[in-house]
């Protein structure tokens, strides 16, 4: 049945205005037989309002999507969606989307654009990139990518490599690097860990925002419900350690307030009790871990083990004075954690992204190892990957080879950030110090540094020095405002894209996003296609690295690897059939998870879980050799306080807060709201209207302050106050909140946009604006939890 758009409107008209009869239920369908039938169809997609990767069932009437539900059997969300997922259509239908390619007309940032055609836009980029290559300067191209999903990350990396630039800053886990670095140093894994909610009995959360953010959000929301009442007769327990009384804390069985930045110490204090009381999993530790006890190296030198260190330095008494957590509480948690098995300890950004985040994360990982909860039913799981087929090798010509060997502009990989994958916050200093070469062209994909980086103003200084900026964003965000050319991507309803799922299940799975509409709502193009197109236009080895017609074809090739294994949820005779079913199901997964593959999965020098990180030791020695500097010198540059064996063991480093306590008496801690994700969400009125339910806040942002603190300062609920740090100040509405730590000012993330459409713009404040840039050098990231502030009435 073909009904065109006009008729559709007629139909809505009929269903809404055409009735005068009073008795019948007029709010519902017209009476049977009386209503004009409409064409309804359901398709699948993958949500991208946050990195959760939930499967979508999309209800469309005629052409238009009208409602989103979850895919019933999709493992990550089991047919459910969170509020952001539900409001997804407001992304698609956002009236302020970029509807066609734009070229800057006026001054930068002025918002004066000229509509151009795709041909013209692509021409502009290609010409520029070709010239750069001809001049032998492909390394003057920088790509800043953010929320990469699925093969988009590989595609972009491939492009940069084939083109010949080392300046690919594309870290999809920007903002949680510390967690990954911790896992890397203890287990040698490069993924987040999954939680086996189906079996876990005791969840010890070090500031994981399980019910508001975390990853993957929906899986954790479900997990909470399941922990509570999913298994007849078994009622799991959840303990939330956090300075602030968050929604998660309120829903947990126990909330443990803690001094900010001291979680590592607490974890070690808990370890102390477990070791002292010999409640650890001896067989696991014996067979699958390294460095628990003191050990001798090949030279016969004795090294300190985890046990020795913990027993020496982290008695409950010592820990209690550091963390503010009473000794009895530490002992009780330790006792419960080691007896209510399976139990797990998990973290979030509030722990892993501190200046001591890497060590804190290592300490928490060690708790899991102590009770044998890794890769074990009810424990944390090591993510398995789908068996994608590898794309053909990247072709590099001489130009590429040469420029790829140039040092990166952001300094990642060099001292003092030897282990960083990227470090965009460091660009300004590097440029100011006078790096060897300038940036000529910047490509921006799915990231908005002018909003999401701490102290974004510094990034503006970087941007101002770049002659040509291309943004692929479908939205006029802060950074896109500063670009010279916009080549708009479609929204996640309008493109082909695969979507890896943030580790949440352990077993391999991926989602497939296919266009819901027969053609994009506006004149937009999938950035994947555009990149392939540009590569081909550049030609040579660059073009040859992209042997596909478009991104869909590239995806098909990758999924062939899965097709041939004939396992998991989608199996078919031929590939066309496979692809079709894949689209219908919204993805593929193989729910078999082989527990206990420690030997295969711990990718460390010892092949074991490392209490004593040989991974780190080797890497640091390597750095020392490369830089011809002594270890101690390197540690000094990396601002690591410990020396000797302790460096390689999880230990407590004092967090570095910026701002003198006298002048700036409060810690500034931000947190994420369920209703927004990273820089996104504020452009959706549905989400604005339910923003912060705990304080009944909508359409605005606020500063949480402890009632007693507020009283002392004469601040009343609703007063406007200034929050000032070393780098700037923000004016905001004070909300007196008993859940606020007395020494902390809490500001939620989500608002404070200076662009991003009519609903987001000019509303509330963005705590990033006053964050200082202090680093965890070991982890190689900027810590957003290192700022001290003062507050006073506005």
């Amino acid at each position: 049945m073909k009904i065109n758009r006009r008729q559709l409107l007629k139909l809505i008209g009929a269903a809404t205005f055409g009735m005068t009869l009073p008795e019948e239920l007029l709010h519902a369908l017209p009476k049977e037989g009386e209503w004009i039938p409409y064409e309804e169809y359901w398709s699948t997609g993958i949500c991208l309002q946050c990195p959760g990767g939930c499967g979508l069932r999309i209800r469309s009437i005629m052409r238009w999507p009208v409602k989103l539900e979850g895919i019933k059997d999709y493992p990550i969300n089991k047919g459910r969606l969170c509020p952001k997922g539900q409001s997804g259509l407001q992304v698609l239908y956002d009236p302020d989307r970029v509807r066609h390619p734009l070229k800057r007309k006026g001054k930068r940032g002025e918002g004066n654009w000229e509509k151009i055609s795709w041909e013209e836009g692509i021409d502009l980029v290609t010409q520029r990139l070709k010239t750069l290559r001809q001049e032998g300067n492909p390394h003057h191209l920088m790509l800043l990518g953010g929320r990469y999903r699925g093969h988009m990350a590989e595609l972009m990396a491939r492009f940069m490599e084939a083109y010949g630039s080392p300046n690919h800053l594309g870290n999809p886990v920007r903002g949680s690097e510390g967690i990954l670095k911790g896992h890397l140093f203890t287990m040698g894994v490069k993924d987040f860990l999954a939680t086996h909610w189906e079996k876990v009995n005791y969840v010890l959360s070090f500031g994981t925002s399980l019910l508001e953010a975390s990853r993957p959000s929906l899986r954790n929301l479900w997990g909470y419900g399941f922990l509570r009442r999913g298994r007849p007769g078994i009622r799991g327990k959840m303990v939330q350690i956090e300075p602030r009384f968050s929604v998660t804390a309120s829903k947990a069985d126990q909330w443990v307030p803690i001094q900010p930045g001291t979680d590592g110490a607490l974890a070690l204090g808990i370890a102390y009790w477990i070791i002292q009381e010999k409640k650890y999993d001896y067989p696991f530790i014996d067979r699958y871990t390294f460095g628990f006890n003191d050990w001798k190296d090949s030279d016969g030198k004795t090294h300190m083990g985890f046990k020795t260190l913990v027993l020496k330095e982290y008695s409950p008494k010592q820990v209690s004075s550091l963390t503010g957590v009473p000794e009895e509480t530490i002992a009780r948690i330790a006792q419960e954690f080691s007896s209510h098995l399976p139990s797990i300890a998990i973290t979030g950004r509030g722990v892993g992204m501190q200046t001591n985040g890497t060590y804190a994360q290592m300490a928490v990982d060690c708790l899991n190892a102590l009770v044998g909860s890794i890769d074990h039913p009810g424990g944390v799981l090591l993510q398995r990957k789908p068996p994608f087929k590898k794309w053909p090798a990247i072709q590099r010509d001489g130009i590429a080879e040469k420029s790829l060997s140039k040092p990166r502009l952001d300094g990642a990989g060099n001292l003092p950030f030897p282990f960083a994958d990227e470090i965009p916050s460091n660009l300004l200093e590097r440029i100011q110090k006078g790096t060897s070469y300038p940036i000529d062209t910047l490509l921006l994909y799915y990231t908005n540094p002018l909003f999401s980086l701490p102290e974004p103003e510094t990034f503006r200084n970087v941007i101002e020095r770049i002659p040509f900026i291309v943004s692929f964003s479908p939205f006029m965000d802060e950074t896109t405002m500063f670009s010279d050319l916009v080549l708009p991507d479609g929204t996640y309803f309008e493109r082909w894209q695969d979507d890896h799922v943030e580790p949440g299940l352990g077993f391999p799975m991926f989602g497939l996003r296919s266009p819901t509409l027969d053609k994009p709502l506006y004149d937009t193009r999938n950035t994947g296609d555009v990149i392939i197109h540009i590569a081909k236009r550049i030609g040579g080895s660059v073009g040859k690295s992209f042997p596909w017609k478009d991104f869909q074809e590239a995806l098909k090739e990758a999924t062939k690897g899965i097709f041939v294994t004939k396992r998991g949820s989608v199996q078919a005779k031929d590939f066309d059939e496979f692809w079709k079913v894949l689209i219908e199901r919204g993805g593929w997964w193989d729910s078999f998870y082989p527990f206990g593959e420690w030997r295969e999965k711990f990718n460390t020098p010892s092949g074991k879980f490392e209490f004593y990180s040989l991974t780190m030791e080797r890497a640091l020695k390597e750095v020392s050799k490369r830089n011809r500097k002594g270890l101690d010198q390197i540690l000094k540059e990396m601002k690591v306080e410990a020396r000797g064996d302790k460096v390689f063991l999880p230990h407590f480093e004092r967090p570095r807060w910026v701002g003198e306590e006298k002048e700036f008496p409060f810690y500034l801690i931000h947190y994420k709201l369920m209703t927004t994700a990273e820089g996104r969400g504020a452009n959706q009125p549905f989400l604005q209207e339910i923003l912060g339910p705990h304080l009944k806040e909508k359409w605005d942002s606020w500063v949480e302050i402890n009632p007693e603190t507020a009283q002392k300062m004469g601040i009343q609920d609703g007063d406007f106050i200034w929050v000032e740090s070393n780098t700037g100040k923000l004016r905001g509405k004070a909300r007196v909140f008993p859940g606020a730590h007395p020494n902390v000012i809490h500001i939620p993330y989500g608002q404070g946009h200076k662009a991003y459409g009519r609903w987001a713009k000019g509303r509330g404040m963005n705590p990033n604006d006053i964050l200082v840039r202090e680093y965890d050098y070991l982890g190689g990231f900027v810590s957003p939890f290192s700022t001290r502030v003062k507050v006073y009435k506005a």
Partner: protein, 231 residues
């Protein structure tokens, strides 16, 4: 005869508000905007209400999702001078939009404050209108609206069951809020069917209803461990 009812498990609910948005998208409930929201004019057929009490570190925070209770003895219907709201034979307290003249007596007499008035003509950006659910009546200014247990979904299920000459099965009718709840905290079904999940849960030890003492006989049950003293 069916008797539709809902159970919300507060031990599972995370206060995420997915139900709130799902309901809005399903039922074409417009957003109010900043100014109107501050006047309390935002419409939430499903409303997550909260309460914070105590002093650091003894703080208490509570969330309750509140749809219309579909009272068996609804105080709202009897006061309507034009019978624009009434209890249908299946127990749903329905609202006949075209008949409502907007006196709002039903609103002031609903002890649960779950009826919402259209203070202005509901407005949407042109683009959003593409996403309207055609099964749901478009309201206008000056009338009252509220949760109707997604009656359009019930009706669809009923038509299907009728075509197939059978009763609606357990789990066949799923309101939008129930369908989306990430922690599976909301249940919906036929209270007359003693085998249905809702009727079993409604008899659970943990079950209670809001303002039970008022004798309104709500058909929305809540589950909560221990003493509930949140009113």
């Amino acid at each position: 005869m069916y008797r539709w009812g809902m159970v919300i498990d507060l031990d599972k609910c995370t206060g995420c508000q997915a139900c709130v948005i799902a309901c809005r998208q399903e039922n074409n409930v417009s957003f109010a905007g900043e100014k109107e929201s501050k006047l309390g004019r935002a419409k939430f057929w499903m409303n997550l209400v909260s309460e914070v009490k105590g002093n650091y570190p003894d703080v208490e925070m509570r969330f309750i999702p509140i749809p219309c209770m579909h009272c068996d003895r609804p105080p709202c219907t009897i006061v309507c001078p034009v019978a624009a709201t009434y209890k249908n034979p299946e127990g749903i307290v329905a609202q006949v939009y075209p008949r409502c003249i907007g006196v709002r007596m039903c609103i002031s007499n609903c002890p649960y404050s779950v009826r919402y008035f259209n203070w202005y003509e509901p407005t949407w950006p042109e683009e959003y209108k593409k996403g309207f659910n055609p099964d749901v009546y478009q309201r206008r200014k000056g009338i009252t609206e509220k949760c109707n247990f997604c009656i359009q979904r019930i009706r669809k299920a009923k038509e299907k069951a009728k075509r197939e000459k059978r009763r609606i099965r357990e789990g066949e009718v799923i309101p939008a809020c129930v369908e989306t709840c990430p922690s599976e905290a909301i249940y919906f079904g036929d209270l007359n069917d003693s085998k249905s999940q809702v009727s079993k849960l409604s008899k659970s030890r943990r079950a209670f209803r809001l303002l039970e003492e008022m004798g309104t006989e709500p058909k929305v049950y809540y589950l909560k461990e221990g003493e509930w003293n949140g009113g």
